[in-house]
């Protein structure tokens, strides 16, 4: 319980193994992407590589956005317990800008680069991503491939609006994230309540904007891959996935840093509370996932059921069930007991399972829309994942090392967090 032995001026030093491994992972990722585009000889290799790039940059943005979201609701709730590790989500928020650039580049390239494809007996120039609505001619009544359903959605699904909202929303998230980091740094320099009050206000504004815009962001970026299909649950389903995977990454980062001698002030109670949040939001993810599935299954309308019909084909069925196993059953039983949430090893394993599980979750959202029944799993998928994991680790740890201290030492609730004790 003694809090006097900690050095709050301790800084994170990014060097040694962490740096070597994350750089090596980035190299592996680059090799994987080059392999996917240039070496892989299979018919759909370009679409496959684009799908993987979209998946991982969406995941990357999701984890960083979850950092901003976590900061914002911790400030809004005026919670004290999380202060001791707020630097980690702050580091995520700092990286968000770069993640956004990656996603915007992938989406732009996927929309603008085109290839010849057969579409209902007609040769069309389909883009590599979002071909279901972005293929020229789909909304033109004179065209041979005119699709009245897509034409009806073209007010939302047209490139300027689609890309514009993406830029604006992600730009706003990045801006609010950077403000929260800036206020925290100012607080350390100046002390007092001014910066805390500013953070509180900006968090409230962010949460309103985030709540209304995030579903639209998810509808655009992922749901429009299968543009004929729609689900109003999809936005919340994605928010749950983004949030729980972001929390798992926060917890994993914290545990690994603690095991390497940093964050000595973080105790079992912090870990248990973090575990509770991860446990709770895994259940929430399942709840939304099931709500979406259940209504579709019950109503049984062809235009809605087709989404799950595709995922029920032998090609995807195993993965469909594995998704529930990794993201619901595993955290449910692994994190149910208090002792398990307090154990670093147990939490670490649960977090890794959730991180892999949500990769699979995104995989099942994206691949049936882009690769359809030519789904593959191999070098491209693995290497892209490793590459982006390395990129995230590298950028996030560099951002973390730039903080003057590993704890916001003049945060008004600092003492409460240091003495955090439950049970």
């Amino acid at each position: 319980m003694s809090t006097h032995q900690h050095s709050f001026d301790e800084r994170f030093e990014f060097a040694g193994k962490a740096k070597t491994f994350s750089l090596a992972a980035i190299v592996i990722g680059v090799i994987g992407i080059l392999y996917g585009f240039l070496v892989d000889g299979s018919e759909h290799h370009t679409v496959r590589t684009f799908s993987n790039l979209l998946l991982m940059s969406y995941y990357f943005v999701g984890v960083c956005v979850a950092g901003v979201f976590f900061l914002a609701y911790q400030y809004m709730a005026q919670s004290g317990w999380s202060v001791s590790f707020l630097r980690i989500p702050q580091a995520f928020a700092k990286v968000l800008g770069i993640a956004v650039v990656f996603l915007l580049v992938v989406v732009a390239a996927g929309l603008l680069l085109k290839h010849e494809e057969m579409h209902e007996g007609h040769k069309v120039m389909a883009p590599y991503l979002y071909a279901h609505w972005a293929t020229p001619g789909l909304t033109d009544p004179k065209s041979e491939i005119y699709d009245s359903i897509i034409a009806g959605k073209s007010a939302f699904l047209n490139i300027p609006f689609f890309y514009g909202t993406l830029v604006i929303f992600l730009g706003l998230y990045t801006y609010f994230g950077s403000l929260l980091v800036k206020y925290s740094n100012n607080e350390d320099a100046l002390g007092g309540m001014v910066n805390y009050n500013k953070s509180f206000k900006i968090s409230a504004i962010f949460l309103v904007i985030f709540g209304f815009t995030f579903p639209i962001y998810a509808f655009g970026t992922i749901m429009s891959l299968e543009a004929h299909w729609f689900s109003t649950m999809f936005g919340w389903y994605n928010l749950a996935a983004v949030h729980v995977s972001g929390l798992a990454v926060i917890a994993l980062t914290l545990i690994i840093l603690k095991q390497n001698g940093y964050f000595s002030w973080v105790n079992e109670s912090h870990l248990q509370d973090l575990g509770k949040v991860i446990f709770g939001f895994s259940i929430f993810w399942t709840y939304v996932w099931f709500a979406q599935f259940f209504l579709t299954w019950y109503a049984n309308m062809p235009e809605e059921s087709v989404y799950f019909y595709k995922r029920w084909e032998p090609e995807y069925k195993w993965w469909f069930w594995l998704n529930i196993g990794l993201n619901f059953v595993a955290p449910l039983f692994m994190l149910m007991k208090n002792d398990d949430k307090r154990s670093m090893t147990r939490m670490k394993i649960a977090c890794i399972i959730i991180i892999i599980g949500h990769w699979l979750d995104y995989y099942l959202m994206i691949m049936p829309g882009t690769m359809e029944n030519h789904r593959e799993f191999g070098i491209t998928e693995l290497f892209t994942f490793i590459g982006f994991a390395g990129l995230f680790t590298f950028l996030m740890l560099s951002a973390l090392s730039k903080f003057e201290s590993l704890i916001p030492k003049k945060h008004p609730f600092l003492e409460e967090s240091l003495h955090h004790h439950i049970q």
Binding site: F290, Y298, H421, Q423
Partner: protein, 178 residues
């Protein structure tokens, strides 16, 4: 032989009571229990109180709830009187999820409350076990079993030294019993 059954050290400050616990432990005097009007951080660890088993009860009640409703609905809608609802199979698993989920939660919540009430003698019809009535108001009370812990005067002195405002030598265990 003294007729004292329990010695109660009544404190008006939780920190002094914690100090009193420490002093008693240093003198190897076993503490029967401690009563406080509010939760005190770290007291369980200091007294060596075992972790609550309420969670296990909750888990069992949850499983019971799931089993009960699953069986009822299976018997009525699949076995006894199958009906065609929207052309779905009679035993359609997704249908079973919402109410199984709800009953799991319902039984867990009610079961935990009942278990807690019975374990703490708060259930209706049971007399609550109170050693000192002011322990529910503004006194922090350390109870020591008088039997075998002698001499009583030494215990009284330790409690007084720690800052007890009053030391009682009670001849009965619970004042709330008639």
């Amino acid at each position: 032989m003294s007729s004292t059954k329990f010695i109660l050290g009544c404190f008006d400050d939780p920190d002094q009571m914690m100090d009193g616990i420490g002093k008693l432990q240093k003198n190897s005097i076993p503490i029967y229990d401690v009563y406080s009007p509010m939760p005190i951080h770290g007291i369980e660890a200091k007294l060596g109180v075992k972790e609550s088993r309420l969670g296990y009860a909750a888990f069992c009640f949850g499983c019971l709830g799931a089993t009960v409703i699953f069986s009822i609905v299976y018997y009525t809608l699949v076995h006894d009187w199958p009906m065609n609802i929207g052309g779905k199979p009679h035993f359609a698993m997704p249908n079973f999820v919402p109410f199984t989920f709800e009953w799991t939660i319902l039984f867990t919540a009610f079961g935990m409350v009942l278990t807690f009430f019975f374990a703490t003698h708060l259930a209706p019809g049971r007399a609550p076990r109170v050693m000192d009535l002011r322990a529910t108001d503004d006194r922090f009370v350390i109870a020591i079993d008088a039997k075998g812990n002698v001499p009583h005067d030494d215990i009284t002195k330790i409690l007084k030294d720690a800052g007890a405002v009053e030391v009682k030598h009670n001849e009965r265990k619970y004042v709330s019993y008639e």
